[in-house]
Symmetry: C2
Subunit: 152 residues, 2 copies
């Protein structure tokens, strides 16, 4: 299989995992910069036309994987592939960010949930969405409903 390499690094306000907002209904509004290495700058050509990007990155400070785990504010364990847990067999993260502006090889974005210094593996344009009314969201929807009941 291939050997991963960083194409750049994330500048993020989060220095430790405890600072990253977690749990139900968390909104990720934090701004950050995807600092792409000069060697790859040409690969950003025309990226500024897209409002949203997929960022694929490495969980570089995550412990070994666990196939079952409990998300924050959820007592029940779920399979790692049904959660966004950092403890994955391949420590790969995926975040959708809004592209605010590009300055040379720096992409200023909104919506970061990575730690500062996180290695970036790939960036892809966000081309289409699944309509919200077509989504079923399993344990997440159930947990949101329970929380709404508790807060009534």
């Amino acid at each position: 299989m291939f050997t991963p390499r960083a194409i750049g690094y994330v500048s993020s306000p989060y220095k430790t995992t405890s600072e990253i907002p977690k749990g139900l209904n968390t909104r990720h509004d934090a701004e950050g910069v995807l600092r792409i290495l000069r060697d790859f700058e040409l690969g950003l050509t025309d990226i500024e036309g897209f409002s949203h990007l997929f960022v694929i990155w490495e969980f570089d400070r995550s412990p070994d994987f666990a196939l079952l785990g409990s998300p924050p504010f959820e007592e029940r364990p779920h399979g790692v592939f049904a959660t966004r847990s950092p403890r994955r067999p391949n420590p790969i993260g995926l975040t959708v960010v809004e592209l605010l502006r590009r300055q040379n090889a720096d992409l200023y974005v909104k919506g970061v949930d990575m730690l500062d210094g996180t290695p970036i593996l790939d960036i892809k344009p966000y081309m289409s969405s699944v309509p919200m009314e077509k989504l079923r969201r399993g344990w997440l929807a159930e947990a949101e409903a329970r929380k709404a009941l508790e807060e009534r």
Copy 2:
């Protein structure tokens, strides 16, 4: 950096890249199976509650990367990070599929655009969408508009 490992393999109707539908307005309706290795089956717990999944996989039959390239039916070259080109610095693919049903460690899905036998790196639940009215889609929207004009 980490060493990638396959958590499973895609069963797809596509044996060669020429069979994969490409170009503007292509719809990926093909059905396939994500055959997860037994060692990782526990990680699928509760995944059947989600209607859609992100599949992260390896372009295992792709040549070396090219920072600029022309997508199918588009004359102008774009940066690799503004396209879904397989020729990426890290040969990582991302596909959104609809989960039809699960049978043990096999996920029957709709929307595959990978080759048969493609190694799967990760699966994540699709939890939310960017509303279509908030998306700007750069060169892709321009190419679609040109095509619509040509077809009038």
